[in-house]
Symmetry: C2
Subunit: 360 residues, 2 copies
């Protein structure tokens, strides 16, 4: 339940503009609209009191062995892989730290499609593209949040390299980097890995949020995410952590409990615009965001996705990339399915306070 | 994998218009757009070959007892309920068959809001409305698909009564009837029940699909669902069953494996327009759709939702209600989250064939 905690002197700042203070209002339900995407959610704190509603943890599937003879991502099992596309470090003198391979069971069919539509069928488009796996470490039983910051930095550098390479291929319209942790979050293998998918079509959510951001820019001559970052810094209510160049918040319209977003504080349209000097700092922020989540929810299954621009948005004044981290701890029901409206049983302001209170 | 089955002489009808026959194409991925809602999905049959991807069944939580002393929905435990709103039959001489109670942990806060927006905050709307539970039978260990057709008919009559009552209340904009079966589908109690939520806001998915259908009507002077029903009947590829007044199909752009929709064959904008003589027939169709699902997936968790109009759509020439049944057997991953694009690892035409082959 909301409202039971002391939110400190910062509270009235945002609450004052509305009918009542935020957490007061959240003894009851409210719809909230994400200012950066236009997406609505229903925040329903009374749902949290249901019996049998417990957040489940222990998503890590590592069985303690550093090397699993049956895992295709472990060193020595290269015969189980289709293609090794990249290894880092490139010289490989001391073995690889990250490795990129083709996904054996791709969502999109390899090779960007040259014939994007079926003749005479406007409701079918060939699903061409690229689907790769980024193996984050050679150690089977490691976990991204427990890697050294330098190792997380390696992973982000690998994301950047594959992102840039895929984005410039012909017919590629969007590139999505994501990570599924735990079976309930969609991971079918326990060895630490992320994925990257390049599509020949701009996915619906990307085109909708691009349109939303463009409209905002046309009306206000300002990037909607830059504005939101500023607003969150001023209010402080949902801030989990700020560093020189990044801001971690629980978003105002979080779709579920303990969702976090990592925003670059200065304007950056596209993930590939990340500056060399910021990579280490982002690695630290990502690692800590995951550590906070693990501390609060006891190693929950989660997804994260780098929400970045599309092929034509580099340098855009209205797009602004982020990393969205979502614990996979809510079961979707028929209401969400029919209404297209996520129901968040947790109060974003409370969740932020809990996450930022974690001390190591 | 698609393509391994004989789809009979009906196949070329639809395949001929496109570049290749449907199942041939579905050895690889394709995007499909739902013609009735405008929503895209990615059909990715290669995903099905992943190891460890098995559809899980046994969602029924009934423990064999007809009466559970700790279940608030069982007769005799009325002290655990907040409010009994309706019982059927009304005279109750032989006990109730269905019972409607207020949801103790509502998504929306009771009473439709009189103040729909927070002053000065366009991104917050008070979440007022009504959230009720429809207890489908007094027997704790029963299951909707195993009830007699007359009992399912009682359940549908109860839906209709509550739907009509809630829809006419002031400030109610939409009413959503849904059922969550099994914990993974969001059910927190095992006793057979459905839910009904009345909202003071038109949920995003309803307004988007209404806009889509209206545009189609303006361009073609025909209801888009009537057109789709006709097309499915002609092609036959995705038909699971047809009765005099209803059609069960796996939709062309199913969001996941073994999704089914039940459409009224003649034009009906709103669920409340269901004719008296059709109720029994719908009960039979719903029961069989669930039985087919249980036979193929071994009692999977599932959601169903009655996708109907909003308060202002009764009598509309372009809206057309349906029941959408979705097994909760896929884990959403970071791609779906970021792209807003469901990934269906199954071929809708194959799924339809499997469902319609079930014999009892």
């Amino acid at each position: 339940m909301c409202g039971g905690r002391d939110l400190g002197g910062r509270f009235p700042k945002e609450g004052g503009a509305a009918r009542g203070p935020l957490c007061e209002a959240l003894r009851v339900s409210e719809y909230r609209r994400d200012r950066t995407t236009g997406e609505w959610v229903l925040v329903a704190p009374e749902r949290k009191r249901r019996p049998h509603v417990r957040f489940s943890g222990h998503a890590s599937t590592g069985d303690g062995r550093a090397l699993d003879p049956e895992c295709p991502f472990c060193p020595g099992n290269e015969n189980m892989l289709t293609d090794i596309l990249l290894e880092s470090p490139l010289d490989g003198s001391l073995g690889w730290r990250t490795r990129v391979v083709a996904n054996k069971y791709p969502m999109v069919s390899s090779g960007a499609s040259k014939a994007p539509a079926f003749e005479g069928a406007p409701d079918r488009i060939a699903g061409g593209g690229y689907h790769e796996v980024i193996i984050e470490t050679a150690r089977h039983n490691a976990d991204l949040s427990a890697l050294a910051v330098e190792e997380v930095e390696d992973v982000i550098r690998t994301y950047l390299r594959r992102y840039a390479d895929l984005m410039k291929r012909p017919n590629v319209k969007a590139v999505i980097v994501f990570r599924n942790h735990g079976r309930r979050a969609g991971a079918s293998l326990g060895h630490p890995h992320s994925q990257i998918v390049a599509t020949g079509m701009v996915p619906p959510r990307l085109s909708a949020s691009a349109a939303w951001a463009r409209r905002h820019y046309e009306n206000h001559r300002q990037c909607v995410v830059c504005e939101e970052v500023q607003r969150e810094l001023e209010s402080g209510l949902r801030v989990v952590e700020e560093t020189d160049n990044f801001l971690i918040v629980v978003p105002f319209a979080a779709a579920g409990p303990f969702e976090q977003r990592i925003y670059p504080r200065r304007h950056q349209a596209c993930f590939s615009e990340l500056a060399e000097l910021e990579i280490r700092e982002l690695a630290g922020a990502l690692k800590r965001a995951l550590q906070h989540l693990n501390a609060v929810l006891d190693d929950p299954p989660y997804n994260f996705v780098i929400e970045s621009g599309t092929a034509d948005s580099a340098g855009s004044r209205y797009r602004h990339w982020d990393i969205r981290i979502v614990p996979a701890i809510q079961h979707l029901g028929g209401f969400e399915l029919g209404a297209g409206l996520p129901v968040n049983s947790s109060c974003p302001e409370d969740d932020a306070e809990e996450l930022r209170s974690v001390r190591f």
